[in-house]
């Protein structure tokens, strides 16, 4: 049923307003004055499907994704989402916006000394008062949801394991489940497979794109691996030197585009 709506929305004519779209306008970030990492980024990221951002290391992919949930403060520009400019939020309004944006990290960023269940419930911290977090008295609905998600990512029965006892692939499954626990409207994934072996990388991308598709959630993924990007993304954004140089479907991404993005040719042989 949800899938059908997704298709219907995708089929909407170009230019029709997409209420779930994320619009970046002239987004700039300078860590040091005069040295821009992001140069006037203009992007419209649709409200459905998986969008992959590819590009060499140090080109601003992570900065771009971290500007969206304001882990990094943009220097200038607008981030329009659900009628709000995320770049201008602060305090409680920023926290309220952040809890609707799930995030998956390269190094998983779990709390190592907490159990898998506690790590999943960390995804609810934007919703529950601090005393509930302290006494671990989370609402029964959250705990039920956490059990369902553990089953969905293939970690049924792992709820009492400590996060530091898990393998990399298992940790990233917990990371994905924690992001979905937030009941987000969008998921950001910053190099979610870069610390994993090739087989596990594919599994993680399958889980991420599968869970997002079931919930009709848009996903933005930073990714090094062009093959994985081609395989899972409905749309690819190529970045180099802080600017967007390709924005379109995976089928349109040619070798000359890749040359432009990564520079040189010898690496492709």
């Amino acid at each position: 049923m949800r899938q059908d709506t997704a298709l219907a929305e995708n089929a909407a004519p170009q230019g029709a307003p997409d209420p779930g779209a994320l619009v970046l306008r002239r987004l700039c970030k300078e860590y040091r004055p005069g040295v821009p990492v992001l140069k006037d980024i203009d992007l419209v990221i649709p409200g459905t499907g998986l969008t992959a951002v590819i590009g060499p290391s140090g080109t601003g992919k992570s900065t771009l994704i971290r500007c969206i949930n304001r882990l990094v403060q943009p220097t200038s520009g607008e981030i329009l989402y659900h009628g709000e400019d995320l770049a201008k939020l602060s305090g409680a309004a920023l926290r309220a916006a952040r809890r609707r944006i799930g995030m998956v990290f390269q190094e998983y960023n779990l709390v190592e000394r907490l159990t898998v269940m506690e790590n999943l419930l960390c995804g609810r911290l934007g919703y529950v008062p601090v005393w509930r977090a302290w006494l671990r008295k989370f609402p029964a609905r959250d705990i039920e949801h956490a059990f369902q998600l553990l089953d969905a990512v293939g970690l049924g029965g792992f709820e009492n394991r400590r996060a530091d006892a898990l393998s990399g692939g298992q940790r990233q499954r917990v990371g994905i489940a924690r992001a979905i626990m937030q009941e987000p409207n969008i998921i950001l994934a910053d190099e979610p497979t870069s610390s994993l072996d090739p087989k596990t990388s594919v599994e993680i991308m399958e889980i991420l794109s599968g869970l997002a598709a079931e919930r009709n959630l848009p996903v933005i993924v930073n990714i090094h691996n062009v093959d994985l990007a081609r395989r899972f993304a409905a749309r690819i954004i190529g970045m180099t030197g802080g600017s967007v140089v390709y924005d379109g479907p995976p089928g349109g991404l040619t070798e000359s585009h890749l040359n432009h993005i990564y520079g040189g040719e010898s690496w492709m042989e």
Partner: protein
Amino acid sequence: MTVVEQLNRDWQRFTPLRRLSRFAFYLCAVAALVASLRTIEIIPEFLYDAPEQMVDLVQRMVPPDWSYLKPTLDALVETLHIATVGTVFAIFMAVPIGIMGASNVTPNGPLNLLAKFIFVTSRSVNSLIWALLFVAVFGPGPLAGTFAIAFRSIGFTGKLFAEALEEADKGSIEALTAAGASRPSTFIMGYWPQVRPAFWSIALFRWDINIRESAVLGLVGAGGIGVALDTAMSLLYWDQVAVVLLAIFIVVVLAEIIVTSVRTKLI
């Protein structure tokens, strides 16, 4: 490279400048030793009969006066109470100040500085001086000793707790921030699980130190076994002094054993 050049290659550990500065350092050290020997005015007569004095003291101590055991044990229990309650007080005060002093949890320069100022104040005053101060406030007795121990310990526990917080993994904190968690929630679910082992380790370590420190507080009238020691020494009852010293020694060793075994279980 010719053979001659290869033969003439030389390697030395220090450059000439470093050799010179090392020589200057040793020269200064010897000069300081000579200068201090000339100013401390050792009285040779005292030095000559030191061995006899030591033997005499030990002879006066044995056999220990076991009838003094009862008052010693009572005073010992008081010392343990002073050390334990003082440590608990110290922790209650040190945790908020430690949070205030950790620059990642409290990103506010003036507050960090205020916390560091409190740590330095607490640590730079010796526990005997704190005890004198609190004897003046509360009068002689264990209450003054407890407060002396507590205030002396804030600096140590608070500083180490703040350092443990600053070493916490940034990634997991970032993840909780990204999930929209408030600062108190981030502390409870992000920082606290990471610093919990360090916290208990610091608390136990300080308790161990405080047992030793509280043993001497009685010298200035702040309660505990130090009072028993002071009384016996003033009256020159060396056989009673022996009992007190033995009791302190046994308790310190026991505390050390307890702390070590609990610590290995915690970490």
